[in-house]
């Protein structure tokens, strides 16, 4: 297919709206403010590797990773069910999957607080069943729940769209050759759906690392994430240089690790994910 020109409008767009702003961020990250004006320096990067900031970064990656794994574990079966042939009105069901996300994010998160709080609906329900109430809100688990809730469609939809068109004949052929359900899934369906899974992981993990509203509201501000840190630098302290440096380092680390992941996937073409 000779169609590279198709990406031309996007390349121009990217150059203006992604690449130039990126240079700007890079410029900020490499300078510091001194009484004589801006001076070139690596200080901002050095500061990022102080234990306290590293800790925040690792926690963010950890929580995002857990959320991604949960999204995948919950989302893959859901995508399979949605893509399954005997599920009526699948377009409507897929659509219904996205509609909740059209309600404002803050309102949804506040609603979760109403559900999770000490005298909230879930605990009322538990007490009704005679069970002891749980401390749900303002925990790391609540933050993960918020992330999973928000990003689940970003995992399910790409997987669904790939699963939908997997060649039935392949599956039938595998079955004819004596493969059982599990083997068919492991050797045929899952490998074929891998591109969708990779997209899903990317769209869940990356934004999850930088989210900050969820941790502030559902975590009760007790679990500072890298997103909070960056926001703090840009808005409250006004130190755009350090803020830019944090985001640069974070972006590079995440992109590198995603790169490693995708290379691994290539080598095992059609094998497992990891």
């Amino acid at each position: 297919m000779k169609s590279k020109w198709l990406s031309f409008p996007y390349l121009v767009w990217m150059l203006i709206f992604i690449f130039i702003p990126l240079l700007l961020v890079l410029y900020f990250s490499l300078t510091i403010r001194t009484p004589d004006g801006l001076v070139f320096s690596f200080d901002n990067f050095r500061r990022f590797f102080e234990p306290i900031y590293l800790k925040v970064f690792l926690r963010s990656v950890y929580l995002a990773l857990i959320s991604t794994v949960i999204c995948l574990a919950l989302g893959y079966p859901m995508a399979m069910i949605l893509a399954g042939n005997n599920f009526k009105r699948k377009n409507v069901m897929v659509f219904l999957f996205v509609v909740p996300m059209w309600m404002n994010f803050l309102l949804r998160t506040y609603a979760w607080m109403t559900l999770l709080e000490r005298q909230g609906l879930l605990n009322t329900f538990l007490t009704f069943l005679g069970l002891p109430p749980l401390n749900l809100l303002y925990t790391q688990e609540a933050v993960v729940l918020g992330m999973v809730y928000n990003f689940l469609p970003f995992m399910v939809l790409p997987i669904y769209s790939v699963l939908r068109k997997i060649d039935r004949q392949l599956i039938e052929a595998a079955a004819d050759l004596g493969a059982d359900q599990m083997t068919i899934f492991r050797r045929v369906i899952f490998p074929l759906s891998l591109p969708g899974v990779m997209s899903g992981i990317t769209m869940v993990f990356m934004p999850a690392v930088t989210t900050f509203v969820i941790s502030r509201l559902l975590g009760g501000g007790q679990f500072t994430l890298i997103g909070n840190l960056i926001e703090q630098q840009f808005l409250f302290v006004g130190d755009w240089h350090f803020g830019s440096a944090i985001s640069m380092v974070m972006m590079v680390i995440i992109l590198l690790s995603m790169g490693v992941l995708s290379r691994y996937d290539k080598e095992h073409e059609g094998g497992g994910l990891w």
Binding site: I52, V56, E117, Q119, Q232, Q233, F236, V237
Partner: protein, 347 residues
């Protein structure tokens, strides 16, 4: 695919209907106002538009810092802003505000003398106060049996996981400094370190560091004690009579939101008209009544419900106010506050 096409058509239809309904063009001069969300009785804007034949573009922001960054970077061509005290000081220092012509704001005379010439605008050349309040402790009388007089109670083991702190570095560090007997504008690193130690010690007792959700939590009885702004306290006490508000004896923060005109304004005349309009007695009363915060307007205050006036949360006595301090802009020293706050929170 047919379904998709219909979907697109439906969406386009919505857009068409919406653009039809929102098609109002007018030739009136425009005044761009930038205020906190839900911080005005909206009918006031319509009244102003009608009386002065000026169209008001009314936008909202959620924090001083959001607004500051946007205006500073040239991201908004606003005519009237409603920043808080320390932000005003900072904007004055950085030459972002215009001096007001008080001849055009005759209603300024109604502002109480004690709210003029405050530290953030010593000559009162740039700002007209809009609302004010204090920071204090709201507590649930059913859950807190000890007398609440000092910030110390927020460090009391008996109320572990019953305490809500503000997720705002200036406020939370500020009250800690006050508890330790320091100024909440301190630039002394030793004092800040002491505050840090205290906050770290307090952290296991804190249920959460919250924002506006503190109101729902306290009303619902989810916590026993919380640090809140006085205006919100009045509202919470109305919703849940078990709640009471105290300005601790060590003193606290006194805050102001005031109206200012940025240098980028191209319509200073209309902006001053707007400020003057908001200082009209009946308009100021309307806003005070809607917002529920304390007004610096002498005449509007007289129209208020006497019960509210006697509520010491809304209108504390002179003795309590004398103990309070206004936030000042810390400039680059803010970095130290941020470092401390990060060290407390990231633990």
């Amino acid at each position: 695919m047919g379904k998709i096409r219909i979907l697109c058509l439906a969406l386009l239809l919505i857009v068409a209907v919406l653009s039809f309904s929102a098609c109002f063009k007018d030739q009136r001069p425009v005044l761009n106002v930038y205020n906190w969300g839900d911080y005005i009785d909206e009918s006031v804007i319509a009244e102003f538009e009608k009386e002065f034949n000026i169209r008001v573009n009314y936008d909202t922001f959620s924090t001083n810092e959001d607004m500051y960054v946007k205006v500073k970077s040239g991201g908004g061509n606003y005519d009237v802003l409603f920043p808080s005290d320390y932000t005003i000081e900072r904007m004055i220092k950085e030459g972002m505000l215009q001096k007001l012509d008080f001849n055009n704001i005759p209603n300024y005379q109604y502002i109480e003398e004690q709210f003029k010439n405050l530290d953030y605008d010593p000559q009162n050349a740039y700002s007209v106060p809009y609302m004010w309040g204090t920071v204090g402790i709201i507590y649930n009388k059913k859950k807190v049996t000890k007398p609440v007089t000092s910030w110390q109670i927020l460090w009391d083991q008996d109320y572990a996981k019953q305490i809500l702190m503000l997720d705002s570095q200036r406020d939370s560090i500020g009250i800690t400094l006050k508890m330790l007997g320091y100024s909440l504008n301190t630039r002394n690193l030793k004092e800040l370190e002491a505050a840090k130690e205290a906050l770290i010690k307090q952290k296991p007792l804190v249920l959460a560091y919250v924002g506006d959700d503190v109101k729902d939590k306290m009303i619902a009885g989810e916590a026993a004690l919380a640090v809140v702004w006085s205006g919100d306290a009045v509202y919470m006490m109305r919703e849940n009579p078990d709640l009471a508000y105290v300005i601790p004896e060590e003193g606290s923060n006194l805050w102001f939101d005031a109206m200012v005109i940025p240098t980028t304004s191209k319509n200073k005349e209309a902006a001053e008209k707007f400020i003057n309009f908001l200082c009209r007695t009946e308009i100021a009363y309307k806003n005070t009544d809607y917002i529920g915060y304390s007004t610096p307007h002498r005449e509007a205050k007289k129209l208020l419900d006497p019960e509210l006036l006697s509520n010491s949360a809304a209108y504390p006595g002179a003795k309590e106010l004398a103990r309070c301090e206004v936030f000042l802009d810390l400039g680059d020293f803010l970095k130290e506050y941020d470092r401390i706050w990060t060290e407390v929170k990231a633990r």
